[in-house]
C-alpha cells in the first residue's frame, strides 16, 4: 500500500543529494574560509637595526637607543619602580593623518604595555604628530626584574602601532634584554620635533 512510485523515489534521492551538497558546502566554508582574525591581520615589518627608518602605510619609525634603568626621571617627575624600566628612544612620524604612537613589549607570550605614568613619555597625548613631521621621544615600559631572566628575554619584541592595526602596518624591533646593562637612572625629556 505504501509502495513508493518511481517519481517519489527520485524526489527523495534529489533531496538527499541536495542536502549532502549543502552539508559539504558548509564544511568547506568552515574549513577553507579564513577566520576574521586572519583576514584582518596586520602587516608586520621588522626594524632590522638601530638608526634605521622603516615605513608602514600609516607611519615611519626609527629606534635610536634602548636602555634599561632602575629609575626614570623627567624635569618634573621621578619614576621609581619595584621592577625595571625599558626606555626605547624613537623618531616617529605619521604618514597619512595626525596620529600618536603606541606600543608594547612581548616576551614569549607575556605582554607589557607602554607606561602612562610619566606625562612626558612619547605615548602621552602630547606626542601626537602630523604627516611628514617627525618628533623624537622615548617610550617607557615597566616590567618585573624577573622578566629580564625569563625565557624569551633574549629575543624580546617591542611592537609599535598607530591606532587600529587591522589590515594596517605594525613595526617590530627585537631586543636581547639579557645583554643590556641596567643603569641607575635615565632622564627623558618632552618629545621634540626634528627636521623631516
Amino acid at each position: 500500500m505504501s509502495a513508493s512510485t518511481p517519481g517519489s523515489r527520485l524526489s527523495r534521492r534529489a533531496a538527499v543529494l541536495v542536502g549532502a551538497v549543502f552539508i559539504a558546502t558548509a564544511i568547506a566554508v568552515a574549513v577553507f574560509v579564513p577566520s576574521e582574525e586572519q583576514t584582518t591581520a596586520p602587516y608586520v615589518s621588522v626594524i632590522p637595526a638601530l638608526d634605521t627608518t622603516v615605513e608602514t602605510r600609516e607611519f615611519s619609525l626609527e629606534v635610536t637607543r634602548v636602555r634599561l634603568a632602575d629609575r626614570v626621571q623627567t624635569p618634573e617627575w621621578l619614576g621609581d619602580t619595584n621592577g625595571v624600566w625599558l626606555v626605547v628612544d624613537i623618531v616617529f612620524a605619521p604618514r597619512l593623518a595626525t596620529a600618536g604612537i603606541d606600543g608594547m613589549l612581548r616576551i614569549d607570550d607575556r605582554i607589557y604595555l607602554t607606561s602612562r605614568r610619566p606625562d612626558t613619555a612619547a605615548v602621552d597625548q602630547g606626542a601626537i604628530g602630523d604627516p611628514g613631521l617627525p618628533w623624537a621621544g622615548s617610550m617607557l615600559i615597566e616590567m618585573p626584574v624577573s622578566a629580564l631572566r625569563s625565557s624569551g628575554a633574549d629575543a624580546a619584541v617591542v611592537q609599535f602601532t598607530v591606532g587600529e592595526t587591522r589590515l594596517d602596518g605594525v613595526l617590530e624591533y627585537t631586543i636581547d634584554l639579557t645583554e643590556l646593562a641596567t643603569q641607575d637612572s635615565v632622564t627623558i625629556f618632552e618629545p621634540e620635533r626634528v627636521a623631516p
Binding site: 517519481g7 527520485l10 602605510r57 597619512l96 604627516p131 613631521l133 623631516p196
Partner: protein
C-alpha cells in the same frame, strides 16, 4: 527515462527554483547596499569646489577664503617662527557669515579646516592647529570655527606641513560630525 523525470521535477519546482535564484542575490545586494549608503553618506569626500574669491554655502552660512599665505622655514618669517628645516607654515583666513545658521544651543554646529594632499598611499591630511605653533600672522583672528554664535567672523586656520606641500594641497572645510568634506577652496 530519468531525463524525463528530472525535467518533470524541475517543472514542478520551477517557481521555487526561480525564487531562490532571484531572492538570494537580491538579499545579498540589499544587505550590502543599505550599509553602503549609510557609510557613503557619513564619509562623502565630494565637497563643493569653490574658486578663489568665490563664496561657498554650508548650513545656510557663507564661507569665503580671503587669504592663503605660505611661509617657508628659510624665509625671515619662517626663521622668526622657529620653523624646522624642511617645513613650512600655512595661514588660511576664511570669512564666515553664520548669521543665518540653523545652529542652536541644543544643536551646535562646528567646522574644521584640513589641508589634504594626494600621496602614494592615499590622502595625507593635516589638521588646523594640531602643530601647536604660535603663528597667527593676521593678528588676533578667531582660531576656531563655530556656526553656533550666528555671527560674522574671520577664522584663521594655521597648519605646519613639510616643505612644498601646501601649494599642492586642497584646503577643505569639514563639519564637526559626521566627518565629511563640505567645501574645497582653490587657492
Amino acid at each position: 527515462m530519468s531525463e524525463h523525470r528530472v525535467r518533470d521535477w524541475l517543472r514542478r519546482h520551477r517557481w521555487g527554483l526561480i525564487a531562490l535564484a532571484v531572492l538570494i542575490p537580491a538579499a545579498v545586494l540589499a544587505s550590502l547596499s543599505i550599509r553602503w549608503f549609510d557609510y557613503n553618506d557619513m564619509t562623502s569626500q565630494n565637497p563643493q569646489v569653490i574658486a578663489g574669491g568665490e563664496t561657498g554655502v554650508v548650513e545656510r552660512s557663507l564661507f569665503t577664503l580671503t587669504d592663503f599665505t605660505v611661509v617657508g622655514w628659510d624665509s625671515d618669517a619662517g626663521r622668526e617662527l622657529g620653523l624646522l628645516e624642511g617645513t613650512e607654515a600655512v595661514s588660511a583666513i576664511i570669512h564666515v557669515d553664520a548669521t543665518e545658521s540653523p545652529a542652536s544651543d541644543e544643536h551646535p554646529i562646528g567646522c574644521d579646516a584640513l589641508l589634504v594632499a594626494a600621496g602614494p598611499d592615499g590622502d595625507r591630511i593635516w589638521e588646523a592647529g594640531s602643530s601647536a605653533i604660535d603663528y597667527y600672522p593676521s593678528g588676533d583672528l578667531v582660531g576656531n570655527c563655530s556656526l553656533s554664535g550666528h555671527e560674522v567672523l574671520d577664522w584663521e586656520a594655521v597648519f605646519v606641513t613639510p616643505e612644498g606641500t601646501a601649494d599642492q594641497a586642497r584646503l577643505i572645510i569639514t563639519g564637526s560630525w559626521p566627518y565629511r568634506y563640505l567645501l574645497q577652496f582653490e587657492h
